[in-house]
Symmetry: D2
Subunit: 133 residues, 4 copies
């Protein structure tokens, strides 16, 4: 498993547009958690967090879990994401917990649960497939 | 079917953060097309359009197709999106073509094909379910 | 939570065609496991279990988890299943572990992991949505 | 494109358990249709066709569309299926129309619409991904 700083440096270079939105708050081989700082640009009328915000968080979190497992020197792309929106999130920060279920020879499959900070029930659950070489 | 201006006004109010990113370029009961103006903020290293950009386009396009069918006075939320990323998009504008497959009593199911402007093969295909009341 | 016998009786009536294929091997509010007795009719050339066998097991297992939670007197139908086939199963019995993630007012969302008996890594993972009234 | 007889022979060998259930009723590069003969074993109480029957039809139909494109000598496996059940099918034969959307170097993506024979609105829509080598 690579170190957290290496991933942070990589993300700053790879995703400059979103730099500062995400923070790795847990990082071990057993447990990775990513916090998404929610601000005005992520909200929708009615005071809820937008769907694309949750999709982006699922995608970047799972990507970080992959980097943690295979390093930053491989070419990795999302091939599929299936996301269920389970309940309306409050307008607070989101926490994502990615998990790798299968690390195959060319496909990586897993899921991400997304929570409003401080609330136990998930607001969304995503299943992702990445291909890599 | 409601008129295009009514939808444009509604989108400006509902999604102020993305105002100007999207343009309805076809709008009939048979054929709706939405153009996504791609700029620096939508790109990733390697000169490709980000996954969250395509997800957001799929979501807003299908939402517009729903509004066109049921009007703007109902409460509608995305419950699921399954998106396949089929090929790396060029760094050009995207065109989305949403289609409603089932307009049920509480669920609306359909798909959206996304194209790089001027290219025939889709770069992504999304299937969406919305619930409404 | 209803008792196991009530569910067994219900399944015999509801699914006479598959009677005997499935066995509830764990049944508590925390942990439901369903065993699928694999025989010649479930196999494919190469000595593997067919995809439709795994789909059917995911569907019936999640249905049993729903019955355990809401009883047998409601009308419940599968509206969506997203299933990932993770590795080729051995030609042995399968074990399914269903889990309800959201029990909403009209939709129930959850997942099912499927294992070859005696092997730790899942062969398939399904996400299901049921609607009920 | 290979000939229909070659596919029929291959299916008889590959899927002996289901021999006779399926019939290729259209077979051209533009249009493949598969009929599923529905009998007692495919039904559920209430006189409807079971979900696993529709899943199996989607899977075999898409497989036939793949064989038609790449021949019968490659190793092909289903990696994902996302199926929406759109309306309760009548207890009559089903017709499936598979379509390949992307024929990549290692992944094949497409969809299958399923109809009750003689009825215009689909009863199910499946999206499938196969990997091959």
């Amino acid at each position: 498993m690579i170190v957290r700083d290496e991933i942070n440096n990589f993300l700053e270079a790879e995703f400059p547009q979103i730099n500062g939105d995400y923070e790795i708050i847990n990082f071990s081989s057993e447990n990775i958690s990513i916090l998404n700082h929610i601000s005005q640009k992520h909200l929708r009328p009615g005071g809820t967090v937008s769907g694309p915000t949750m999709f982006a968080l699922a995608d970047v979190s799972f990507y970080i879990a992959i980097l943690a497992n295979i390093g930053t020197h491989r070419s990795v792309v999302t091939t599929n994401c299936n996301i269920d929106f389970l309940k309306k999130p409050s307008p607070v920060n989101l926490i994502a917990k990615p998990r790798i279920i299968k690390l195959g020879k060319s496909l990586i499959v897993g899921d991400v649960f997304i929570y409003s900070e401080g609330i136990n029930e998930p607001v969304a659950r995503a299943n992702l497939t990445y291909s890599y070489r």
